[in-house]
Assembly symmetry: C2
Homo-oligomer: 393 residues x 2
């Protein structure tokens, strides 16, 4: 795998997870990289989120990110903030870099003290294992209820000079739109200003992580961090460059966002909810999100039941004024509802076939205006309940 | 069971439900009763809801209500509206009353034509079975995924003249706060003006059905209808009378609302979410509702896991600005979180015992102001998913 120039990464088991799996990850850049971040909008924020927001605002650069899984270091008060600082300090000491250049992320159970002593002890081993091909280990080390690592690399070029973007994400529960995201880290060797990078990242995030839901819950630790080393020699200088890079960034984030949904707790299906011809984009988004978050719609997906009545009931409570008797509903290419009315048993049979697939699209044509929006969701299965009734035990 | 004077009720099987269970219910008053109603806020409304709203607005009185289960008669277009009218007409003909005095309600699957021919054929038998003690049959006839009928009777008096209130409700899925309710019918022999009755019903509904959630979904058919015959001789004349009657009405509706939650699809626990000392009542309501609707909180209840971190995460996404480091969280009398921090394993052990009970209260003390609110919810179980993955098949 090609990785962006200037970056090394590693993942190891430090003992935070009781099952002995990898739980500590590190990404480092040879020099302070331009950095941008998007964080949870939850009013209750983990210590690492508060620390990163402060550090990012102060410098706009970052040289290393340390991440632990198995413990969210959230709702841990002043002691928890001291632990987050300590975690960064352990890394800056062994890497011999400025402490302010280290960002910190945590994911796992809320409300328990982070065993920071384990991080301190493991830091030398973690730093020693860094390698250009260490991103795979890193992507495993940040997993919690995830069943597979989520990593993607894309290439682009500016005036013929190639650059690389590698993104890594985790997340399988406590996920819904209108937030930052779960944990996601993106490294690229493109060069650009912190302001431009933040703008590109915020826009791409809006079209990717902010369009997904697994269970309607928003984490206290959601963090998306992007580091740009500039070491490819490809530099963003014009609006056209920025736009082209924005498309690459959006592609990377959408792929990761869909990976998160596919790996949603208990999920067996990835479903795209596509609203078209809504009164406005905002209305389309409200409807797409409400349908994507409906437990009844999601359990019907699990049952492979083309239960369009539940989709209609969810549309109706989305807070949008619309004429129901113009609505068409499609499962992939199969129109099951036309102008608000059931098409018939043949269409239902065809729609039921679509529902058996691991991925499909539900399109809602409102014939009311130019608005459109997409949301990605998963089905709601017995295993979702099993996983979440057992999570802490 | 004492029933309110002037009312008779019945329930029979008409063949709408394929399993042969009762599916048609009728309540009749000897004369047109003062009537009030609250209906779903879903943008997509069933034919019966639209018909009832029109008839109630025109007269403020009602002499009979016919209800079918097994078919929602929703998203059925003009044909569905004709079916609803026809259903009322079948009843007015056999009862020999004014067609405009009949209200209609339907509950069941969305999007299929109501077999109104079955209703017409069954109407004479239904009318013939009416009896003062027919409310039990009526309460069974309106059930869908409910596992038990929901009926309650309370008595009050005005200046020594006794009156009776009997309420019947159904509902086990597609239920969340901030709507009218599922189907609920209340008969009383108190006398009062339609305006006073509507005010009392709206206020009591706000404190009962609008405070419950099972799955966060809002039905297209939710209807609460209240008929007052005035035949007890007890008449509401003063504000004090109205207030006293309002308390009786609220008690009846709260009991029925809690019955609905206890019988929530797959539910094993009834949980009260009580928010106190919030910045305002509105803020308290937002937080209570968000916690009550969180799938992660509800699956933790099912797992009997005192997972307060999920409660905190839900509070944080409720759209309320608050100081987390002042929050206390109680499971019944057990304080598990104090000023935002975990109290310790002894408290957790005690809280886990509370979670094993079929009913308990989670109290969130925000120490921020005079605001308070309550929401009632259930746990989220494997059976919820089983029921809803199978519902139509």
């Amino acid at each position: 795998m090609d990785t962006p120039k200037g970056f090394t990464a590693a993942g190891i088991a430090s003992g935070i997870k009781k099952n002995g799996k990898m739980d500590l990850g590190l990404v480092m850049c040879d020099k302070p990289a331009t950095a941008a971040g998007v964080f949870t909008k939850n009013r209750v924020k983990a210590a690492c989120v508060l620390l990163d927001q402060k550090r990012l605002a102060a410098s706009g650069t970052c040289q290393a990110i340390i991440v632990n899984s198995g413990n969210a270091n959230c709702c841990t008060g002043e002691a928890g903030m001291a632990d987050a600082v300590e975690m960064g300090k352990a890394v800056s000491a062994v890497l011999e870099i400025d402490e302010a250049q280290v960002l910190v992320a945590s994911t796992g159970v809320i409300g328990q003290r982070l065993p920071v002593e384990k991080v301190r002890k493991a830091a030398p081993e973690l730093a020693g294992k860094r390698a250009e091909n260490g991103f795979s280990d890193f992507s495993e080390a940040i997993m919690t209820t995830d069943t597979m690592p989520k990593i993607v690399t894309r290439k682009g070029d500016i005036d013929g000079v190639a650059y690389t973007v590698t993104g890594i994400a985790k997340g399988a529960g406590m996920i819904r739109p209108d937030m930052a995201t779960m944990l996601c880290f993106v490294c690229t060797d493109i060069g650009m200003s912190p302001e431009d990078l933040q703008a590109v990242v915020a826009a791409a995030n809006e079209k990717s992580f902010n369009r997904i839901t697994i269970d309607g819950d928003t984490s206290t630790n959601d963090t998306l961090l992007v580091l740009a080393s500039g070491m490819s020699g490809a530099h963003v200088k014009t609006a056209a460059h920025r736009e082209a890079f924005g498309k690459v960034m959006e592609e990377v984030l959408v792929i990761l966002a869909k990976m998160i949904i596919k790996d949603g707790e208990g999920a067996t299906k990835l479903v795209e909810i596509s609203v078209v011809n809504a009164p406005s984009d905002g209305d389309a988004k409200k409807i797409a999100d409400t349908v994507a978050n409906s437990n009844l719609v999601k359990t019907a997906f699990f049952g492979e039941d083309a239960n369009w009545g539940r989709i209609v009931a969810a549309m109706g409570r989305a807070g949008v004024d619309f004429a129901y008797d113009r609505v068409d509903i499609f499962f992939n290419e199969v129109r099951l509802v036309e102008n608000g009315l059931y098409v018939g048993p043949d269409a239902e049979k065809a729609a039921s076939e679509v529902l058996k697939r691991p991925e499909f699209t539900v399109s809602l044509d409102m014939k009311a205006g130019p608005g459109r929006a997409v949301a990605w969701t998963c089905d709601f299965s017995l295993d979702y309940v099993r996983i979440n009734a057992d999570y802490r035990s």
